[in-house]
């Protein structure tokens, strides 16, 4: 499954990056979203994939005896997901504000302050 | 009083959902539900709660029957080749008045395959329903009014 997953991750990265390189500001945000999915899946895969053994200690036991999924990457991803959400929320509102203030959604028109003389 | 009932109901749902049928847990649920109700100050609660149980049971059977019947009809429609529908949007005048009743009726109609509540008029007098099989508009209107609306009125009225 790691092989398939790696292709999924690669595909997500590729399409995320491609979208980010578009000039439309909405596509930029969609690209960022895809990129964060990709990063999360990447960490997930790095913890190695385990089917059907969530890292929970069953009722009545004091520790897990069978082999379980690595809980650490899961915790990391949870953190990353939530952080990503915060950032994306900001980015989403930012593009709206940009359009309202600048009157365009074309990134190439947003370079009045950043152009070589 | 209705709020109290609602509160009890919520506390009970709590116990059910948590799966621990103990007084302490019920108490926790009650407190929590109280807090929730306080927070949202939900306006109306169902009245005549206990008297309606019988009607409710009857209603559930009626509804289940309708649901299965309609589902099978639509399933058949989906599976067999070609289209054999006479769809349309029908305006159904309402006798029921309260928000809860209208909502319940609308949802029941929607849940029944082949029919779909599109909207309620702003003065709450008419329900607009999309239906897949309208052989006769009046007949359709009547079936809704005498079937679902009457029973909703019974249950909630």
């Amino acid at each position: 499954m790691e092989v398939v997953m790696s292709f999924v991750i690669g595909g997500l990265y590729a399409s995320g990056l491609y979208l980010m390189m578009r000039r439309n500001i909405l596509k930029l945000v969609l690209g960022i979203a895809l990129l964060s999915h990709a990063a999360n899946l990447l960490i997930f895969t790095m913890g190695r994939l385990t089917r059907g053994h969530p890292p929970l200690i069953p009722p009545g036991e004091v520790r897990v005896l069978e082999s379980i999924a690595d809980p650490l990457p899961e915790a990391l991803i949870l953190t990353a997901i939530v952080i990503g959400f915060g950032v994306q929320a900001f980015a989403i509102v930012l593009i709206r504000r940009c359009f309202e203030t600048l009157g365009t959604d074309d990134l190439d028109e947003m370079r009045s302050t950043d152009r070589a003389p | 009083m209705t709020t109290f009932i609602l509160n009890l109901f919520l506390a009970f749902s709590w116990v059910t959902v948590t799966g621990h049928f103990e007084p302490l847990n019920f108490f926790i649920g009650f407190i929590l539900a109280y807090v929730m109700l306080w927070l949202v100050r939900s306006g109306s609660a169902p009245s005549n709660y206990f008297k309606k149980v019988q009607q409710v049971i009857g209603f559930i059977f009626f509804f289940g029957h309708e649901l299965v019947k309609a589902n099978l009809r639509v399933a058949w429609e989906v599976i067999r080749p070609g289209h054999h529908m006479y769809p349309g949007v029908v305006a159904i005048p309402l006798d029921i008045k309260t928000d809860a009743e209208i909502t319940m009726l609308a949802n029941l109609i929607t849940l029944t395959p082949g029919t779909l509540t599109l909207d309620v008029s702003s003065d709450r007098k008419i329900l607009y329903v999309h239906a897949m099989y309208i052989e006769d508009v009046d007949e359709f209107t009547r079936s809704i009014k005498e079937g679902f609306e009457k029973r909703v009125q019974e249950v909630l009225g």
Binding site: R51, G52, P54, L56 | -
Partner: protein, 96 residues
């Protein structure tokens, strides 16, 4: 293979096919509401998949995920409806 296993396989196949159907509708549209109901169907099927998966792995904890999915799928649909109400441009609604 036990009865349960056979039925789980059958269900998995059915649900997978449904996902594919819904996905096709999502891609093809033609109108925005079509895409939205396709997404809604997919999430509903998701609940089903979770149920089947919980049965097949014998881990009822996955049911909790279904609770969440039921909730958020509703929220998502309502949000899309909210958007559809705001959109008046029919061309945009058609999707291209």
């Amino acid at each position: 293979m036990s009865l349960i296993e056979i039925s789980v396989h059958f269900s998995t196949a059915m649900l997978s096919l449904t996902v594919v159907f819904a996905f096709i509708r999502l891609v093809r549209g033609p109108s925005l509401p079509d895409r939205v109901i396709a997404l809604d169907l997919m999430t509903t099927v998701g609940i089903g998949i979770i149920a089947v998966y919980a049965i097949s792995t014998d881990k009822p904890v996955f049911l909790d995920v279904a609770v969440i999915l039921a909730l958020v799928s509703f929220l998502g649909t309502i949000a899309f409806a909210y958007y559809l109400q705001k959109v008046t441009d029919i061309a945009d609604l058609k999707g291209d």
